[in-house]
């Protein structure tokens, strides 16, 4: 690598950083508008045309607001928590290929910051880091509501991370690669969403929980916990949490796009061949985000025990069965050939497993109906 490579890398980092920030500003506006539309309201209208500058105005307001540190706060941790909550979202984006790349100065510039050979694990690692910001914020505030929110969130995020990891595992088993570019390359004929639909659904649900979006926004549950983990935060530090939350949403959507929706793939004309993939990528990410907003506008918040029960008793067993099924589909033909007996037996087994899952879920439903606590 010479200086030009380093320069290009730095340029990509800076561009991605600012595009992400910009996207968050737009996203907040989009969310408010969409939710308003679904509730037949108009939403923000004042700042800019159709209120598009509303979040910018919010940001400026927060920036100039007085930052208050509670007397009981643990100062250093209180200060680093917002930063810690922002970092993983940015870092996770580093491995996502958002386009094919372009040739500049006679060298190939991929539209991706770093193509790690453990890309999918990097994503997992960063999503497991997301919990720290919230946990530390809640603890360091020296107050009860934040602490409760953070304890809830650490349990919630760890639990749903298992489900998310299972979804990722089945994808990586199916595509046989850990590297993001290769996973995208392996989707040249069929997007992973088709053969891996259950994993996609698991990932989307777990992603909601990981980003603490409604209906999984227990850590901040404003009706019960004031504002949860960021109750004691104000000004720019609060803005950072806000930013982190939306950044996480964008990142989760981008990962889902890359792993399941074929990444930047899509039909496009030869003209401006480098631009179309980026557009496809953005469109797909927006579609997922739209679905998230829709869910937010539709579903009420989960009760905490239901949330944990769903994560552990439905999502994780289902994910495990799916990993098993994926493995069987990949491996059995190699071992036993494509004999109808084997396929039949496997199908019967799969049906039995699914039925037993269903049965146990129903049985539990009956129990809770019988004995309300």
């Amino acid at each position: 690598m010479d200086w030009l490579d380093w320069l290009l890398l730095a340029a990509r980092v800076v561009v991605v950083f600012f595009v992400l920030l910009l996207s968050v500003i737009l996203l907040v506006w989009v969310e408010r508008k969409v939710v308003a539309d679904m509730q037949t309201r108009k939403g923000p209208m004042r700042a800019g045309p159709r209120g598009v500058l509303v979040s910018l105005a919010d940001g400026i307001k927060l920036f100039f607001k007085e930052g208050i540190t509670p007397a009981l706060a643990d100062r250093p941790v209180y200060l680093i928590a917002p930063i810690v909550s922002m970092l993983p979202a940015f870092l996770a984006f580093a491995v996502i290929p958002f386009g094919t790349g372009v040739t500049l100065f006679g060298r190939r510039v991929p539209f991706q910051i770093a193509d790690l050979n453990v890309g999918i694990l990097w994503v997992l690692a960063m999503s497991s880091m997301m919990v720290y910001g919230i946990v530390l914020a809640g603890w360091s505030s020296g107050s009860n509501y934040p602490l409760l929110g953070s304890i809830r969130s650490s349990a919630q995020m760890i639990s749903y991370e298992v489900g998310m990891a299972l979804a990722l595992v089945s994808v990586l088993m199916y595509s046989g690669h850990l590297r993001m570019t290769q996973i995208v390359a392996a989707q040249d004929r069929v997007w992973n969403v088709v053969p891996q639909l259950p994993a996609f659904v698991i990932y989307l649900i777990a992603g909601l929980a990981e980003t603490n979006r409604p209906p999984f926004d227990l850590p901040e549950a404003e009706t019960e916990l004031v504002a949860g983990y960021h109750t004691e935060y104000s000004g720019i530090k609060f803005a950072m949490f806000y930013l982190a939350e939306y950044l996480n949403t964008v990142t989760v959507a981008a990962i889902a796009t890359t792993l399941f929706l074929g990444g930047w793939r899509g039909p496009h004309p030869e003209h401006l061949a480098w631009l179309w993939p980026i557009l496809w990528f953005v469109v797909k990410v927006l579609a997922i985000i739209y679905a998230y907003i829709w869910i937010r506008a539709t579903l009420p918040r989960f009760r905490y025990d239901r949330l944990m029960a769903f994560g552990w008793k439905v999502l994780i067993p289902f994910g495990l069965v799916w990993v098993l099924a994926t493995g069987a589909v990949i491996v059995l033909p190699d071992v036993y050939g494509r004999r109808p007996v084997v396929i039949g037996a496997a199908a019967v087994l799969a049906v039995v497993l699914l039925l037993s899952l269903l049965w146990s879920a129903l049985a539990r439903r009956r129990e809770t109906v019988e004995a309300p606590s």
């Binding site: 643990d74 790690l116 453990v118 694990l121 997992l124 690692a125 497991s128 809640g138 850990l178």
Partner: protein, 203 residues
Amino acid sequence: MAADWIVFWVCAPISIGSAIAMLLQRNAVHAALFLIVNLFTVAVLYLVLGAPFLFAVQIIVYAGAIMVLFLFVIMLLGVDREERLVERLRGQRTAAILLGLGVVGEVVFAIRAGVGFSTRAPAGFGAANGGGNPQALGRLLFRAYFLPFEVTSILLMVAAVAAMVLARRRERPVASAERRAQEPIEPSEPSEPSEPREEEPVG
């Protein structure tokens, strides 16, 4: 000066510094945070030492799961108040320092005594890492080491069952109310003081 050399000399001092800071920290949460820093720097060292897969695993498992569990327990128990660093048993700290120095000394001796390390395999690490580090590690795990792999699964199952058995509060009959009324609320256990915190919901 190679890049990995620089990375090592940046990470190793931070790592040792944070380990020592963890030991001297009175507040349990701060100590946990320093341990997280330590684990991160060590993960980066794994990357430099040719183990990218372990780098990711280290962050996912240690920093992402184990340390969160630690923080969770520290917060849940509310044991994060300051700990007295005054030693109760006299000389224990001295003994600890001596033992620690002993370990370092032993290793230094071993290293100095065995200067010429036997690097038997002339083939480079690239050959061992054929097809990428995760792939090579996977082949190793599922061929030569598949018995330990399965044994690990038993270990994890035992651990899961065990943790559940230990941390579960004494079970109440979940069934209908009349059965609950007939049974004594606590299984009688004369040798133990009653637990006042029994009524809290399990988190």
